[in-house]
């Protein structure tokens, strides 16, 4: 096995041998390769993300955890995050989108919160193409099938059509949940001697190496590489939610982490690394769906609906009992240790022995950036195509184009009322939900302005941010913070990296100016195919707080004779 097969560059491989003081064995190489992939390590974007303002008076937990948490008052925290599931949804629309919803929901559980609301950002190709309709149908049904069954209401979203997404649709899934501040969970609180427990589905061969899949351009081969498709089981997820929340409520969990990209490997190494300890994992104890799986397959499998719990030894028995009550598989598969080593044993044999720090320390990449040569053409709008002599006609044309049309056909397929706390749902300019058992309300807006970001990445991103916050403020809400998903093409070409860099600069500057901290986010690169690339698509979800829900300003409550004002320049 060479380093190239696991997606590493020569210099990265050299770095690994330096850090290890020896050549890695095949399993170790697989493990490091995945953890150092763009998808897991954010190696191209970490320097950019550091420029975001992260502090704010409501921020309890910023970037670095499974999701950001802000203070809602009266003892409530609000955990939220948005994540992309673009590549899987392009290849298998229904399952890709469904597992995207499942994945982001587990991030919220990992903070100890009950997943309470979802939103989805969808970017589809030309609405008139049969291909787009099929992709959109599968994606919307997938999101609905998963979210409806798990019982998390979709309270809003964003749908945007453009030929730029013909081959590369984007699916950004947002989820959020309320958590009692004294019940918040963390992935940084494991102690030596604690047990590592796998809860939820058995590990199978699905989605093996999905992380490196997401770090590549989509090619025809993607269709051939079958095991990368993961199957979602919302029923299992619902049980996982109830089980984890019950365990947290009884203080049975010392630390926890969801299993996303690079499954057991990334969750266990992250928890060890962030908690400042080591971990020993005993492969033979991992419940498998197929008996003959190799160690690397087990570690990289992205089987869905699994959580990693860190449990104090004396609490193992009640944890097992609760899992049994919910009919979930549960197994103690490892132990936290003093030394900061990540060790894998299988039937007594030591198969991998790495410093925990190595898995989380991919060298950062700084790509060159250069303004795209065609920027002037992108900006040149041909005003002659506007038939402004007949404004009425122009208006109806605008309203009936796919981006202007109502999106009921999409959001009526989502349960927007379950959990009985949606005050304003999809179709409204801002989503509003109750903060449990209080008069407070949480306001959410999701925005993206891909076309503007294409013509002017810096201003387009700043405008996206301003738009999201304006939506909050119109309801009377105070800004809590934002989460963002950066959907871009390859960072390896200077003109494309420029767009990314400028968009992040636009978001960071506007957040600073508007006093909106960035508490979480996700990056999806390489959204391009041989035949095209997406617009630079930073998507933003802003959260706000209203102290008294009765005082919220709602849209559409007008009477004859009301005056119309415009405010601002």
């Amino acid at each position: 096995m060479g380093f190239r097969e696991v997606g590493l560059s020569e210099s990265e491989y050299k770095r690994i041998t330096e850090l290890l003081g020896r050549e890695p064995n095949a399993l170790e190489l697989e493990l490091v390769g995945v953890m150092w992939s763009e998808h897991c390590s954010y190696k191209s974007t970490r320097p950019l993300l550091r420029t975001y303002p992260s502090k704010g008076r409501y921020v309890l937990q910023g970037q670095g955890e499974n999701a950001g948490v802000v203070d809602m008052g009266e003892g409530w925290g609000f955990a939220f995050k948005v994540e992309s599931h673009n590549h899987p949804s392009a290849v298998a629309p229904f399952q890709g989108a469904a597992t995207g919803v499942g994945g982001i929901i587990r991030d919220i559980i990992a903070m100890g919160a009950r997943p309470s609301v979802s939103m989805d950002g969808l970017f589809f190709g030309d609405a008139n193409l049969c291909k787009t309709r099929n992709l959109a149908k599968g994606i919307v049904e997938g999101i609905g099938a998963y979210g409806n069954a798990v019982g998390v209401p979709v309270v809003g979203g964003k749908t945007f059509y453009s030929p730029a997404y013909n081959d590369n649709p984007l699916v950004n899934a947002f989820s959020a949940g309320f958590v009692r501040l004294d019940k918040m969970a963390s992935s940084q609180t494991a102690k030596p001697g604690d047990c590592a427990v796998l809860l939820g589905s058995k590990t199978g061969r699905d989605g093996i190496a999905g992380a490196s899949f997401a770090s590549r351009e989509l090619d025809e081969d993607a269709r051939a590489s079958k095991p990368q498709i993961q199957i979602g089981d919302p029923f299992e997820e619902k049980l996982l939610i109830e089980c984890c929340l019950e365990l947290l409520d009884k203080n049975m969990i010392a630390s926890m982490q969801d299993m996303g990209a690079a499954g057991i490997l990334s969750s266990s190494s992250e928890i060890a690394h962030k908690s400042g300890c080591g971990i020993d994992i005993f492969v033979e104890k991992i419940p498998l769906r197929e008996a003959d799986m190799l160690s690397w397959e087990i570690f990289l499998s992205e089987s869905q609906e699994r959580m990693l719990l860190i449990v104090e030894k004396e609490k193992l028995a009640p944890v097992f009992a609760t899992a049994k009550h919910y009919g979930l598989d549960c197994a103690a598969v490892g132990e936290m240790t003093e030394g900061k080593r990540y060790r894998v044993y299988r039937n007594g044999a030591l198969e991998a022995d790495l410093p925990t720090s190595i898995l989380g320390s991919a060298p950062e990449l700084s790509w060159p950036a250069e303004e795209p040569k065609d920027m002037p053409e992108r900006r040149a709008i041909d005003l002659s195509t506007l038939a402004s002599e007949d404004p009425a006609k122009e208006l109806t044309t605008m309203l009936s184009c796919p981006n202007g049309r109502r999106k009921d056909a999409i959001w009526e397929q989502y349960d927007s009322m379950v959990q009985l706390h949606t005050i304003a749902g999809p179709g409204e300019p801002a989503a509003v939900v109750e903060v449990p058992k209080t008069r407070r309300a949480c306001v959410l807006t999701m925005e993206a302005e891909p076309y503007k970001c294409w013509t002017d990445p810096y201003c387009g991103a700043a405008e996206t941010m301003a738009l999201a916050l304006r939506g909050l403020w119109l309801t009377g809400a105070d800004t809590l913070g934002m989460t963002n998903c950066l959907n871009f093409a390859s960072p390896e070409q200077p003109d494309k990296f420029y767009e990314l860099k400028e968009c992040v600069r636009g978001l960071a500057d506007s957040c600073r100016a508007l006093d909106c901290p960035v508490v979480s986010g996700n990056v999806s690169l390489y959204n391009e195919t041989a035949s095209g690339r997406i617009y630079p698509t930073p998507l933003v979800v802003a959260a706000g707080l209203v102290i008294d829900r009765e005082k919220i300003t709602r849209s559409g409550r007008t009477k004859d004779g009301d005056y119309i004002y415009t405010v601002g320049k």
Binding site: A149, G151, L239, Q413, M417, V418
Partner: protein
């Protein structure tokens, strides 16, 4: 009046129902896990809530109809006490034979979540006696399999017996029928009861239009009050 809400694995409207009932009626609501074999609290009203019991993987409600608690549910109904199935709960009632018929996939073959209007067709049962016969109420729906089906002869019998309690309707004209059913339900049937009137199943969610400041509306409150009043007048 004491209420018990059965929680199946995959139920997801259990808490919503609890909130709607306890906020409206200020009476106790117990949550009962499907593995129980008895209702410890001797409830006057048992509710099978909405959701996706057992993932609804085979047929909606099919697996839940075999849950351990179902024996106790049957005994409760046989004793003439109130049993209410909402959405997935309705599907469990038909699958277990406690109500006739079956709920098939919506004609759109998609999940539909929206507000919808119903005409109250019948008020001689243990649930809607406090509502106005012929009145229109708005309860939201949220389901993928809500097309009420019964073979023609039995359907006629059901209608003749006056066991259709709610029918999808047009809020303006007050007309009701299949044309107004978002899911294609035969005769526009949204909810039915058994002969004795103590078992009711309906696809729409009254609990979602109970908390007035939420997006589901506020017609559901009267439904719970109607049950409570009927209980006060007639007992269990």
């Amino acid at each position: 009046m004491r209420t018990a809400v059965v929680v199946f694995p995959g139920s997801n409207c259990d808490r919503d129902v609890r909130r709607a009932v306890s906020e409206t009626l200020k009476t106790p609501v117990d949550m009962v896990w499907h593995e129980e074999r008895e209702f410890a609290s001797e409830p006057d009203l048992v509710i099978l809530p909405g959701g996706f019991s057992y993932g609804d993987y085979l047929r909606s409600g099919a697996m839940a109809a075999h849950s351990p608690i179902i024996g106790a549910v049957r005994r409760h109904a046989a004793a003439g006490r109130r049993l209410l199935g909402i959405c997935n709960g309705f599907q469990v009632l038909t699958e277990s034979g406690l109500l006739p018929g079956a709920l098939l996939a919506n004609t759109s073959t998609t999940f539909i979540c929206r507000k919808c209007w119903l005409r109250v067709e019948q008020t001689e049962n243990r649930f809607t006696s406090g509502l106005k016969k012929g009145g229109i109420v708005q309860y939201p729906i949220a389901h993928h399999e809500g097309l009420y089906f019964l073979p023609p002869k039995e359907l006629r019998q059901l209608e003749d017996d006056g066991r259709v309690v709610f029918r999808y309707a047009d809020p303006v004209s007050g007309e009701a029928g299949e044309r107004f059913a978002p899911n294609g339900a035969l005769n526009g049937i949204a909810g039915i009861c058994n002969e004795e009137g103590n078992v009711l199943g309906l696809m729409p969610h009254p609990e979602r239009s109970t908390v007035a400041h939420l997006n589901g509306g506020s017609d559901g409150g009267a439904f719970w009050l109607s049950i409570a009043r009927d209980f006060a007048e007639r007992g269990a």
